[in-house]
Symmetry: C2
Subunit: 418 residues, 2 copies
Amino acid sequence: MDTTPKGNRLHIALLGRTNVGKSSFLNMMAGQDIAITSPVAGTTTDVVEKAMELLPLGPILFLDTAGLDDISELASLRLKKTEKIFDRADVAILVTEPDVWGTYEEEVLAEMDKRKVPVLVVINKIDLDQPSETFLRELKTKTSRVVPVSSFDVQKRDAFVDALKRQLLEVAPDDFVQPPSLVGDLLPPGGLAVLVVPIDLQAPKGRLILPQVQTIRDALDNDAAVLIVKERELPATLALLNRLPDVVICDSQAILKVSADVAPAIPLTTFSILFARQKGDLAAAAEGAAQIETLQSGDKVLIAEACSHHPLQDDIGRVKIPRWLKQYVGGDIRTDVSAGRDYPENLREYKLIIHCGGCMLTRREMLSRMQQAREAQVPVTNYGLAISFTQGVARRVLSPFPSALLAYDRKMKEHSSR
Amino acid sequence: MDTTPKGNRLHIALLGRTNVGKSSFLNMMAGQDIAITSPVAGTTTDVVEKAMELLPLGPILFLDTAGLDDISELASLRLKKTEKIFDRADVAILVTEPDVWGTYEEEVLAEMDKRKVPVLVVINKIDLDQPSETFLRELKTKTSRVVPVSSFDVQKRDAFVDALKRQLLEVAPDDFVQPPSLVGDLLPPGGLAVLVVPIDLQAPKGRLILPQVQTIRDALDNDAAVLIVKERELPATLALLNRLPDVVICDSQAILKVSADVAPAIPLTTFSILFARQKGDLAAAAEGAAQIETLQSGDKVLIAEACSHHPLQDDIGRVKIPRWLKQYVGGDIRTDVSAGRDYPENLREYKLIIHCGGCMLTRREMLSRMQQAREAQVPVTNYGLAISFTQGVARRVLSPFPSALLAYDRKMKEHSSR
């Protein structure tokens, strides 16, 4: 059951004059009939709040403002109740239909502009009528965010929703796209995290790499203590403790050795998974890792690097992961490497995308890349999860994250029942 | 007893033709008669190695090459034995006397230049004869490092030695001026350091300040583990351990609270002291802290900041330390703040210099600043030690460093016996 408090949800004002199909649009977004949809003008007569989980964006709350479009209603735009909805919105979706644009729409743009709230313009009902060139040209001068949809076209529904999700992701305010806790929520106050760092510390002399520092800081910020130790000293150091630590975190590449050194009762995960959760959608990445189970000789896998300059990771993405994949599948897996901002044109040819940690990406950018993969219907996972999967410890490293583990188990069950 | 291995000592070739006073120069440096000095030419007939501790520079080894100055000896410069001394030298001191310069000196400069070994030219016997303007002008075209001394002038001896020390510090090779271990030498392999960090972590969101990171890294590099905890969780976290940690390190400003939370059997020090040792001369800084004991109402103390932009430390140097000094002395202490590369002109008016941590200085620069203070005969300590002293825990925070503690105790005894 989703218990996200209202305040943490992205508030989306759903605006549009009567009968442009706001309620059916809402149904399309929700993937089910939740509003009373009817072709009779003005059926939706009051404000409807509808909470949903719009992955990879997260928890949102639609504020359906009920067709306020005639003169009297335009006046009422400034009425307290309506203003309140305008004021509550983080983002507005203005629904219209081909070649329909007037005072109402202009008013909405102006009100939202005044509040610096971004507006997506959705042109609904494109199955009935295509918008004219003139209309589109005119619209382009007013806003760059236009998404043509048809909320009644069941076949294209997913594509429409995906396109909208990407636009929403781009305009959502920073604090909504802000990362969740790195490790703090795995630790009770006074808790203890053990960080296992590689023997050949990969950082410049006298330093630690940023992910390690960030993890330490996050634990301290959550009133927990952190014990840092190299792989070699781990068993002796765990023996110094008179109780089990709350979580052990290690480098993906050491997971096999470390998982043998850490009692099964101790939650264990990797830095890579902490960051996959913070930066992207861990449940989706867990499902993506399960996709490895279905790979067959001859399949193509894309190794996606967000930037073209991280030589240290080279041998992970270019050598180790390809080798482990082949070993796991027991056949030939073709791995291509794509570096940089865009996926290759032939993205759909791949059975799986294994993404780098995206240390240079914001959460918004990483979620956007995951969403692009989803649009192309290619599962996506990341280096760390792929490594843990091929080493047979995926369930172990996901165990501190129940919802991701559930998604993973469900996907694995799907694959095995095929 | 000093057990510094030869290899770790700065090797200084002592060169000069017969009777310029190399041996008496060596005596002056050592502060005692260790060589057989004699005005008879050629008394010193073989290579003499003399090890000494030249603070703040550290352990050095003089290679006295025995007056090789006539034609036959010049030829022998290239003989294996002599070449070997040239090759062993990190620095050369070429002793001459006023207006004496010729083929021998030119040859030495050339040989050393070939080896990229810096040369200090010492003009000895200036009590007998002043070097001529022409000589000095000529010399200036050959080298910028000229130190006039008189090794027989007992009164000026200290000033000469100080001037030479500063020149040696400037030309000593980087690896000699390299810092000692930060914390690693306090930890046995498999050891455990506890780092206590402030509740209001002073670092930018998601980070730790560099001294904390450097300390963690140094401990890991020495095969030890590190437990990091905020002040508030320290007692509960120490209770998680089934043995005492090898050292506890905290922020100077929390030393009073932390020293109460940490059993006396556990070695305790501050980040500030670790860095004072790494960056400068801890024993000298400990003696400097003891100087606070002698301060009286009306005395002037200089707060020296290495750079003019560290606002975070402002209230430590400008507010807290002055207040604590006044409280400790029980009278009015005038504190002036000097920021930047140079001490003020009136340095000798101060009874004590309390230096910032010098995070922007190299060890060479910090040692040079301490040496400058020594030349002005003003004791120098640092923020961290001054704080610990005024809080009555100076001995406790120095206890992990026996030689600094000894220097401190000796100085305190001196003060109390006055």
